[in-house]
Amino acid sequence: MITIPNIPESVVARHGSKAWPMGLAGAALLVIGSLLSWSIDPQVLGNLSISLNPGGLQIMVIAQGLIAVILLLADKGPLASLDQFADTALGLRALATWTLIFMTMVVVAITVEAGGLVNVEPGAWICFLGAVLLFASSRLVLPTETRHLSEASLPGWVEILIICVIMAALLFGTAYALGLDDAWQFVFFLVFVMGLVITATRAGALSWLGSITTRRRRVLILAAFTVTFLFPLTQGGSDANMSIAAQVLVFAAAAMGLNIVVGLAGLLDLGYIAFLGAGAYVGAALSTSGFATIGWKPPFIVVVLVAGCFSGTLGLIIGSPTLRVNGDYLAIVTLGFGEIFRLTMFNLDGNNGPNLTHGPNGIPAIPDLEFGSFNFGDTHVLFGVPLARFSNYYFLLLLLIAFIILVFYRLNTSRIGRGWVAIREDEKAAEAMGVNVFGLKILAFVVGAFLAGMAGAIKAHVDVSVTPDQYIFLESAFLLAAIVLGGMGTIVGVLIGAVILKLLPEKLRFFADYRLLLFGLLLVLMMRFRPEGLIASRRRQLEFHEEDEELALRVEGDIAEVVT
């Protein structure tokens, strides 16, 4: 891997004093350059051709410049008191590096999209120069001792305010990101966000946030739910993104269910999609579609419960013989069961079995749900914002996922959860301690299947048609990847993993052909470099990095801090 060599001490000593003014100059250039035009061609990267009217990317660069100013002033100047807590030097280095990367990409992108280096206007070059200056200055700034940020204390209401502000920023940021049609702009936005996050991490801000949120957990959860609830209202009546959001929620719900099986109980299930599919088929067969194959038409709540029970029973059937044997066998058997399910659904079309599923054509034309007079297909108006079909399903899915998260949380913090941890760590020892290994394993399987069944019943209505093609092994692989990517056994991690895996392919359309190729590569790289996932539970991290001394010390320190 490339390392940027540290500037030798002698140079730092000689030029150290120039670092600060150079940094300010760099930041100033960034801001000024962003106000000018970057490219003659207005179609490139969302119209960066008008002076004094910054486009999306230019605003991002202005933001980066302003943050650089704040960090510099904290290093030496009016905001010096912040320097005690924030590691401004490291933060500045991260910010400068990312800004340089950002500007380089901008120049490259403009060159490629507009066809030639000559199309890059002076404004962009000024920004580039500013980024280079900033980068140089950050290398010359000396890091200083800092106190741990958790010792910084602010009045309670300020902390709550900060949480709300961050949540609101997340909300509008997501709405903005989803609204970006140009894939290049989306990529740049991602780079910008990543740069900010890494800067915040290096500067210590993220761990400070972590300690705030630990103290104000209730506020955080409430804010998070309010924000997700308000999301459809930011869409201004457009349903296109809500369709993606609804699919993301279904996927996340299924991932949470799988999280119970894989993350908590450690049972490797590669055929989980079959449970989702079973629920969907039950939901479709019992719906009022013209192609529905069963004559009974119960109210929707009953359908959801029946779907859950059906999937749960399937889980029981498949779990009983196989949970007694080795974990690897379980993986293959569940994979085989997933295929059995798909083939059975494919075959039950009257030719090779009773006509329950219409075979490969599936059950189409599933009508929208209707609770009394509230038809999910109609557009309703809430606070002046029209909410169309997918927004309605979005709210229903929010309810579902809240329920699943609740089940997950309660199970995790109960005796059952501890039993699962014991089984995961060492089955024989757990059995010796009196844990009912087989019973708990079956429970995990059945609960996971039940939740998937419920999610499937709703998915049938969101998707309007149910076909066997939707429930192939690849989907199970995606679900598993979401959990592993996000962090097995954690709630936030799995949600993030699910969102990333479902959202990115939708937005990065020009990847469409290479989507699966990159997915496979992602799995391999992930398991090689960060197998515990993005948001790791401490235990996992230690498990995967057994030889990492530094990590062990850090974890010890964190645990000690929480205890004292």
């Binding site: 007694r324 058997v333 059995i340 075959n347 090779n352 598993l480 699966l516 992930m526």
Partner: protein
């Protein structure tokens, strides 16, 4: 009676394919306790290797003398893939918890499928196709080599296809060579030792890393032969041919006893015959072609319930 023998022949043909691929699974599992999900893709790449050799060196020719070269091409392609896989993806994860290599294997499997699909007829990121290879996004016809394809033999009311003879013959020959290799050569005995106890084998002076590479290579060679056989039988290959074949082959390996090479062969043959018989003899709506795969997996579940160590006894048994 004729139908029974006919389906028996069909089943043995199908089963030989499974057996050839299953050996690869069982050998790797026996030594590393790793289910090499991507082995199905090694099989697929072997078939593509044979096709490429035929198209690049012998375009249009179907003489029987092309066949050995195609097999060599297949072997080079699949062994290369398997060795690279082991070196860059599995070796770093040697000491990681079980989940890591398994997910890596799934990732590799998907990656290889897509890689072949997108880049078979062009160098990645370009449209340079120097040998004018066909597009892999659809099925590609496989060259019909004389002698091993063509009109079938009718022996007393039973039709035996030439490709079937090739497949079964290939299995017999490969099994004999494999037996000799494992039991009579030093490396082969090393493999046996490592699968029994890797640490002790290391203490005895056996280079465990090299043995593992050999294990992967051995599995890949057999998979390559299976790839050529399937191409000859079905007259076409596609980038997706590895998935289901791999799954069934692992079923066969478990059926025969995981870690047990003879078990893999027996398991493959049994699985093939069961599938063929189920197609013919299960009456009513649940018989016939479409349910063939379902019976294979039902058999797997039954075996795991009643005899988890497989028909011939597993050599790397690890009951929960």
């Amino acid at each position: 009676m004729d139908t029974f023998v006919q389906q028996l022949v069909n089943g043995l043909t199908l089963g030989s394919l499974y057996a050839l691929i299953a050996v690869g699974y069982t050998v790797v599992y026996g030594i590393l306790q790793l289910i090499n999900f991507a082995h199905g893709e090694v099989f697929m790449i072997g078939a593509f290797g044979a096709l490429t050799t035929s198209l690049v060196l012998f375009r249009g020719q179907t003489s029987i003398w092309v066949l050995p070269f195609m097999i060599i091409g297949a072997v080079i392609a699949s062994v290369g893939t398997a060795v690279l896989m082991e070196r860059f993806a599995y070796r770093p994860l040697r000491n990681a918890p079980r989940l890591a290599p398994l997910i890596t294997a799934i990732g590799i499997s998907i990656f290889l499928q897509e890689f072949v699909r997108l880049n078979y007829n062009q160098v990645p990121f370009t449209s340079w196709n120097p040998f004018n290879l066909p597009d892999a996004k659809a099925l590609i016809p496989f060259p019909q080599i004389d002698v091993v394809t063509g009109p079938a033999f009718e022996i007393g009311g039973v039709t035996i296809q030439r490709a079937a003879i090739f497949t079964i013959g290939a299995l017999l020959m490969c099994s004999a060579l494999l037996w000799y290799f494992v039991n009579r050569t030093k490396t082969g005995r090393g493999m046996q030792a490592v699968s029994q106890d890797a640490d002790t084998a290391r203490l005895m002076g056996i280079n465990v890393d090299r043995i593992i590479v050999v294990a992967f290579a051995v599995g890949a060679v057999l998979a390559a032969v299976a790839g050529v056989a399937q191409g000859l039988q079905n007259n076409n290959i596609g980038f997706r041919m590895g998935f289901l074949a791999g799954l069934k082959a692992f079923t066969a390996a478990v059926l025969g006893g995981i870690g047990n090479i003879a078990g893999a062969v027996v398991g493959g043959l049994v699985l093939g015959v069961v599938e063929a018989m189920a197609t013919q003899y299960i009456p009513g709506q649940f018989g016939g072609g479409p349910w063939k795969d379902v019976w294979a997996f039902v058999l797997l579940i039954l075996v795991l319930v009643f005899r988890p160590q497989g028909l011939l006894g597993a050599k790397a048994v690890d009951r929960a």
